[in-house]
Amino acid sequence: MKLEIRDLRVSFGGHPVASVPELAVDGGEIVGLAGESGSGKSMTILAVLGLAETAGAAVTGSVRLDGQELIGLPGARLRAIRGARIAAIFQSPSLAFNPVFRVGAIVSRALRQHGLSAGQARERAGAAMRSVLLSPDLLDRYPAQLSGGQLQRVAIALALALRAEVLLADEPTSALDVTVQAEVLELLRELRDSRGMAILFVSHDLAVIAELCDRVAVMRAGKVVEQGPTGQVIAAPRHDYTRELLAAVPRLGR
């Protein structure tokens, strides 16, 4: 397994906010983490990134990348992994880009942080932009000059340029138009299929998860209540909460 989470517990001042007994994502696979606001999905993502502690949380348990334990790893070694091998994209791409720098400067700074030369960074950034179907010309623009969908694709391009093996995607399409969402989902499928990326995809929308994810774990109030192959969970949900989430999805044919 590429990414393995075991007995992960995140708590604030003794109050547990996320508890994941077991969740694994292999290369070439998209695993969904479903649930409402406050269910602990984002905290799980932050804990995997080693960022939950910086938010004041206590984290116990195990997160392994290719067998290597990440929990408790010293900051410098974790920083070398975070971004480079494990990348993350978030709900609001406009908040992920500093508005006063050109997009290309932000991308190339991140690449150089991980040891690339300026020339390599430029080359990789351009190629990555093309693979997310964006013109490299957009690198010369400021974040405010790009749409939300374009910025989200730049964020994905950054993960590609760094050759990330794992992508953590926290509600990456919830702030986008459905048409743009469809494009981003298509792109994530391609990353899985042609690059063998391991993707952990967080969403409150089971329809999006049904379309995208091979397996799914459903979280409620900090706990995983059900998990399994997406088709099975959707067709025969075992937990009432999963049924509730399914019933809430708006359907065109209704």
Binding site: G38, Q150, H204, A248, P250, L252, R254
Partner: protein, 347 residues
């Protein structure tokens, strides 16, 4: 027929400097209970239409009539009366509720601003007891919160103590406070979880019947429209691409843009999934509209005429208008072969 129309928008134009944000939009809203959806992506002009209806942005052309009365010329007390009759609920309740005011004060302020805090509420369609004073306002606030399926005890809370779904319900309660006949709902659920969204939509459906409300539902998601809106209008770059009865329009779109919007809706059941039409790039900016049909650069069915001539809205079936040169073919089943490949951001 015309007596059934509550709000009649004709050939509405809104300019921001040289930008034609809304470029000749017409739509008619029947008396409630009635729902009409205004659909489109970011940049389509749908929010601007809603704001123009409320006179929050000036119209550069066209007419808006409410109950047969010209809206664009209203001033003073008559404009205030109109704004009691037409209320808006914004997408982001986080920004439309004052963080320093308790929920009760936020709603009470609206009652006071419209002189509804004391007598004479019965005529406004509110469940008032006819007594003046603080207690009466408190009762009204409690009744409004209950009507929006909120615990009246929330009146003493601040917005940050509420969930996103609860805040949006407060925004709806506040809009209801003045007894409106028409609600403009501007993406009321797109900042919410699907579960909170389902509850808000159920609330809208209930209020529609209980209050005989008419509403304009602005959204980018076609899936929330069936069951709430009889009619829908699809906007693209400030113009109407297609309009008609919801059921027929969703079952048999006549515009390729509607096809694409429909195909973009994620579906739980594999059987419900349609072959997806991925539109290359984003909506072009209204400041530099493409020549010909505004949709042609992203349209998988574009032909020569689309690049040169702007399609005018025409009737393709009873009650159905479409602005597409190939509207008849699309209505009869013409479908795009596959998504064209083009890099977004390239000329």
């Amino acid at each position: 027929m015309a007596d059934d129309i509550l709000l009649d928008v004709r050939d509405l134009r809104v300019n921001f400097g040289p930008v034609r944000a809304v470029d000749g939009v017409s739509l008619a809203i029947s008396r409630g209970p009635f729902g009409i959806a205004l659909v489109g992506e970011s940049g389509s002009g749908k929010t601007t239409v809603g704001r123009a209806v409320l006179r929050l942005v000036p119209a550069a052309g066209g007419t808006i009539a409410f109950d047969g009365q010209d809206v664009l010329g209203l001033r003073g007390p008559r404009l205030r009366a109109y704004r009691r009759a037409v209320q808006i609920v914004f997408q982001d309740a986080d920004n439309s509720l004052d963080p320093r005011m308790r929920i009760g004060a936020t709603i009470g302020e609206v009652l006071a601003a419209h002189g509804l805090a004391g007598h004479g509420l019965a005529g406004q369609g509110l469940a008032g007891k006819g007594t003046a004073g603080r207690g009466a306002v408190g009762d009204r606030v409690a009744a409004l919160l209950a009507e929006a399926a909120l615990d009246p005890a929330l009146a003493s809370r601040y917005p940050h103590q509420l969930s996103g779904g609860q805040r949006q319900r407060v925004a709806i309660a506040r809009a209801l406070a003045v007894g409106p006949r028409l609600l403009v709902l501007d993406e009321p659920t797109s900042a919410l979880d699907v579960t909170a969204q389902a509850r808000i939509l159920a609330l809208v459906g209930r209020l529609r019947d209980e209050r005989q409300l008419a509403y304009l539902l602005i959204t980018h998601n076609l899936a929330i429209i069936p069951g709430l809106c009889e009619q829908m209008v699809v906007l693209y770059l400030g113009r109407v691409a297609e309009a008609g009865p919801t059921g027929e329009l969703l079952a048999r779109p006549a515009h390729p843009y509607t096809l694409a919007l429909r195909s973009a809706v994620p579906e739980v059941e594999a059987a419900a999934r349609r072959s997806r039409i991925i539109l290359p790039g984003d909506t072009p900016h209204a400041a530099v509209p493409p020549p010909g049909c505004p949709f042609h650069p992203r349209c998988p069915l574009a032909v020569e005429i689309c690049r040169a001539t702007v399609p005018q809205p025409r009737t393709v079936a009873p009650g159905r208008q479409v602005a597409c040169h190939r509207g008849d073919e699309v209505l009869s089943g013409l479908r795009p072969p596959g998504a064209p490949a083009q890099l977004a951001g390239e000329p």
